[in-house]
Amino acid sequence: MVAHKGTRALDIDTLILKCRAESREVSEAQILGSHTPCYELFRRAVEEESPEAWDAIYRQYRRSVLLWIGPSLPDVDEIVNRAFAKFWQFCPRQSFGKRFPTLRHILGYLRQCAISARQEVIRQRTRPYQSEGEVSGADHFSLETVERAALDNVAYQQLRELIRNRLNDEREHLVMHLSYEIGLTPTEICDRFPKEFPRVEEVRKIKERILKRLRRDRALRAWWESGKA
């Protein structure tokens, strides 16, 4: 489905004006349509990579993105920017009309980007470790952040390797992974993997065995004491 010829012929200022007007009195039919000024504005931003259209979209929908992110997070401007960066980064330029047949599809995707940006920030706050692939949004441009994430990643790989070498069998690997990398309690491990772990006592025994062994390990102790932790 393509935008209507009428909206395609509009100059950018008129299009922005019409999109604003449409947004203030938008109907359900317009949200379900692809012949509207707002749809055309998104199409120009993505397919034609028009900076003016993109700039107008940012200003027009910034407050919607803020609403979707929710009010309770600090640095909300950074999250809004991340949301738009995700939208831009992953929007399919070649198959825009196919992927987004109506304005509803576009706005649904923008909303998903807003939620994803919020999840990303919450994740970073609840977990100090950050993989290289997760350095995104505004942080992308900070060399310091990228270097820190890379060093962090190396330290993390060292720790993983140290631990992996101290585990005796597949069950210990699984308990280690599920307990610490996924964060499941022994009861949750039994609930999710009843075949491998039918009894919760068994999980606790394995965990205790692993922790005692790791605590005695000199290399691991040296790793913790080196300040990498």
Partner: protein
Amino acid sequence: MTMKCIAPEEIKEGDLMNYVEGTASQSVREHISRCPACAAQAEALAQMDRALRRRLFRSTCPSSDTLLGYVTGTLLPDERKYVARHLKECPHCAGEVEELKQAGVTSVSLLRQQIMRTARAIVEAVAVPPRPELALALRGKPYRLTLFSAGDLSIALGSEISGPGPVFRLRGRVMEDGVPAFHIAGNPVRLTRQSKVVDRKQVDGLGYFVFDRVSPGEYGLVLEHVDSDVMIKNIRLSSEWGRTR
């Protein structure tokens, strides 16, 4: 010297872990309160448990971008398989994926309400007869200008030939209720021509903005302001406009 448990028969493998997790029985708790060796060992296990948790929690989870790609169907088949496998064991990522899925299927009526609630307005400024003192309000030589009005805001806009060609200097001052709008310092102003932005400036601390070396032609101007933008259309810069309009 290593301490020894005071009553090894009272405690079995797994009990210390139970204690660390706060799920130990009354008898185990009593034993640990009496036994310095077991208390020290439980504390050491708790420290290791906290350290590993802090360091490893969600370290193998796919990134937020990957989960977004999973939900929107843009991952490669191998990546998709990996994420699907991970979701079976990870309630955190499964929760995030569910939230992303829900976000993509918002009802049309809710979406409509949200868009209307957050829409920015754009107000077209209209030309009004200038007051005599406005000529003095602009910096530099007095010259003819046009006053535009949009709600409480007014923009005094004037031009002069600033170089051969000719090229123009287009100056403006923003006022609110007749006084300089100091609080909009820093707000962007865009000069557009044939639907393209040709220059961007910001309003200065006294409410002024200046576009220099502007070629003759017909322009539009957009001032960003709180929840609405103010647009001036059909600004014609010609040698005639500069002298006589």
